[in-house]
């Protein structure tokens, strides 16, 4: 039926660790994102308050974008370490 990956993949013993780590980090980011959406919905005026010379909405927006990248880099680092240790 043509299933399976396009290139041959070796067995990944770190898969379980990576999946659990991914779920945990997903939950953390989702909670932050959900807080942002709920705040905008229930109390949008809070987003107009000034923090570090900017509106809270701008600070939230930048933070969500930067947080995504920081968490992605941390996730990759931990996954790479796990792959090196478990698959060697």
């Amino acid at each position: 039926m043509g299933h399976g990956p396009a290139v041959k993949l070796g067995k990944d013993k770190a898969a379980t660790y990576k999946t659990r780590l991914g779920v945990k980090m997903f939950i953390v980011y989702t909670l932050v994102y959900a807080t942002f959406v709920i705040l905008n919905t229930t109390n949008p005026k809070v987003m107009e308050s000034i923090i570090f010379g900017q509106t809270a909405a701008v600070i939230w927006g930048f933070s969500l974008i930067v947080l995504a990248l920081v968490m992605a880099v941390i996730y990759n680092r931990l996954c790479t370490n796990a792959e090196e240790q478990m698959n060697s």
């Binding site: 379980t16 994102y33 996730y75």
Partner: protein, 640 residues
């Protein structure tokens, strides 16, 4: 708005098109096998693939739609950027590596990897086709919008150029050429958008915006007493307080043979009259802009600051500023936004655009487009539903998911997603400055905000405009290529090869893919012409909602719930598709398109995700529980 075609812009456009065509013919040597055609041989470097992800993702909706929305509605446009980027977290943490591990050419492969189920193959292929077509239409319409100022050609010619070029790209070299086209386009888009933002910051803010040497139109303010007797001389009232215009809060005046419309603002002793712009739609469908045909150029670009404050003082210009000082000055200033009202005058319809001075702190927080202040429960529901669709949609878009099959390993899939997050996140930060730059630099065509980013570039000179417009066109080319590869894979690989069981040789699979690409290309051209005039971000939001409802629950439950069955997956896709599409078809936005009042629509929200995603999950759980006997021992779903 009148645009003058630049030979440089035409030359650059032709260069881009010839470059991608040359690349496709060069790459066609690598696509003799099915692996080569559908997955670029599975040996693309993770960095190249990551930038290509950005190229795929930063479509006309991102570059044209979001910048245009920020330019006219401020922070609410940027909410799309935040939601779109957050969606990549779902892709990275939950979907990237399993998709690579389970699939081969299409995301249907991954869904069906444990079951070999005809119903999954059929439903997933239909879902891929529908989502791809939803996504294709706005891209093709975006192409038509771009060729008018760029090449001076009508809408349908732009749609045909994109359709033909993209079909050649895909039909010659499939995913290999598409990947490299996306890589170059994604990289160039990031570089050139950065250049424009740096130029915006160097120019700073001013109450008299520059526009490539053209003075900004001086929007006048008049004063009148409560009987509408003007203090300024020379004006005659054509339509006063008792007219239809007056009832809507406007008056029409005449001076030196020129009719103008003014917005009435109550003052302490009478009225202040602010100059407005207006479009007259005649009974025969022709349009006049500020009372004259478009060619006479009497309709002005807009976007200016009324009161500019920097470090607590009122100034007329800031000079060059850093990015945070730029946003801070905007927050403290008063920006003129533009409201829109329709007034019927006999058999003519007037669309009036009037000034709405708004505090910058209000512009830089949500609520100008989305109703969140003093909102009803339904309005809050609509907003949350949209943000959910943006969050969940990315990891369910077929043309994004197939990119995981072009890299050699799971680690490469992960790393390419991180490169994508960095590139896309950086671009979305730039969109805030591009949009706010357009809002305050007097460049917005208020009748079509999609061109705000290219017109902002034009305010710095024709060279930057030529490059940015050509890149915007390349953006459409790249995204459409990816969509056509995804859709052709759904037909040739999922339906013909797997579902119908047609025994094809490797070369036969490639031929089937290429023929499918040509057929889909023709359909895309047709739809792009039919949907002329539609907002480019309109269907993209729906494509996200449909993808998130039909695909994501199936993907996640397959990965994380061991009791998932083949029938459960198929039911989930079916319920997700029907519920999301059904709710869209009876939404207020669609009711307007049917020529009815939005208030009469059976449902009063436009974004279906908050209902259709849970329904899709529910269908999977119920049907899976009912069909547990189908689970073959040892074939339990992949566990953590």
């Amino acid at each position: 708005m009148i645009y003058t075609q630049s030979p440089l812009a035409i030359g650059l456009f032709c260069f881009f098109v010839l470059f991608v065509l040359g690349l496709s013919f060069y790459m066609s040597r690598r696509t003799q096998s099915a692996e080569g055609y559908y997955a670029a041989g599975g040996n693309i470097h993770w960095f190249t693939n990551g930038v290509a992800f950005a190229g795929d993702y930063l479509s006309a909706a991102s570059f044209l739609g979001i910048c245009g929305m920020i330019a006219t509605a401020g922070y609410d446009g940027w909410m799309y950027s935040i939601g779109y980027l957050a969606g990549w977290i779902v892709a990275l943490f939950l979907v990237a590596e399993p998709m690579k591990r389970l699939g081969k050419y299409t995301f249907t492969d991954a869904l069906d990897s444990k079951f070999n189920s005809k119903s999954i193959q059929l439903m997933a292929a239909i879902s891929t086709l529908l989502v791809s077509v939803f996504y294709l239409i706005p891209q093709m319409v975006g192409a038509g919008v771009l060729v008018q100022p760029l090449l001076g050609l009508p809408h349908w010619v732009g749609v045909c150029i994109v359709g033909i070029v993209v079909t050649i790209i895909v039909a010659t070299a499939g995913m290999a050429s598409t990947t490299y086209v996306q890589f170059f386009k994604g990289a160039l888009l990031l570089i050139m958008s950065t250049v424009v933002v740096i130029a915006v910051l160097f120019r700073g803010l001013s109450t008299t915006p520059e526009n490539n040497g053209q003075p900004y139109h001086d929007f006048k303010t008049l004063h009148a007493d409560s009987a509408l007797v003007l203090t300024e001389e020379g004006y005659t009232t054509v339509a006063g307080l008792d007219s239809e215009l007056g009832k809507a809060g406007f008056v029409k005046l005449e001076k030196d043979g020129q009719e103008t419309i003014w917005h009435l603002v109550k003052a302490d002793t009478g009225y202040t009259l602010e100059e407005a712009l207006f479009v007259t739609k005649m009974a025969d469908g022709t349009k006049l802009f500020n009372g004259a045909p478009a060619e006479e150029g009497k309709f002005f670009p807009v976007g200016h600051i009324k009161e500019l404050r920097m470090n607590g003082e009122e100034v007329t210009a800031t000079g060059a500023v850093g990015p945070f000082a730029y946003l801070s000055a905007l927050k403290d200033s008063t920006i003129v936004l533009w409201g829109k009202k329709y007034v019927k005058q006999g058999d003519k319809t007037l669309t009036i655009y009037y000034q709405k001075p708004t505090p910058g702190s209000r512009v830089l927080r949500p609520g100008l487009k989305f109703k969140v202040d003093n909102a009803t429960g339904l309005q809050k529901f609509n907003f949350m539903s949209l943000m959910l669709a943006l969050f969940c949609g990315t990891a369910a878009l077929p043309h994004i998911l197939i990119r995981y099959y072009t890299v050699p390993s799971q680690a490469a899939a992960r790393k390419s997603t991180i490169v994508a997050i960095a590139a896309i996140g950086f671009f979305y930060i730039l969109t805030l400055f591009l949009g706010m730059g357009a809002m305050t630099n007097g460049v917005i065509n208020i009748t079509d905000n999609n061109m705000s980013a290219p017109l902002l570039a034009l305010s710095f000179g024709v060279v930057l405009f030529a490059i940015i417009s050509s890149l915007a066109f390349a953006t459409v080319l790249g995204t459409v290529s990816g969509l056509i590869v995804a859709a052709s894979g759904a037909i040739a690989h999922d339906l013909m090869d797997n579902f119908m069981g047609m025994k094809m040789t490797d070369r036969g699979k490639v031929r089937a893919g290429k023929i499918s690409a040509i057929v889909i290309g023709c359909i895309a051209i047709y739809l792009g012409i039919v949907f002329e005039g539609m907002n480019v971000s309109f269907l993209v939001g729906w494509a996200f909602a449909v993808a998130a409802s039909a695909n994501l629950p199936a993907i996640l439950m397959l990965l994380f719930w061991s009791k998932t069955t083949a029938r459960g997956v198929a039911a989930s896709i079916l319920v997700g598709l029907i519920s999301s599409l059904g709710l869209i078809l009876v939404s207020p936005d669609m009711w307007v398109r049917y020529g009815k009042l939005p208030a009469e629509a059976p449902v009063q929200f436009n974004s279906p995700a908050l209902i259709s995603i849970p329904l899709s999950f529910l269908a999977l759980v119920i049907i899976s529980m009912m069909t547990q006997k189908d689970v073959i021992k040892g074939h339990s779903a992949e566990r953590a």
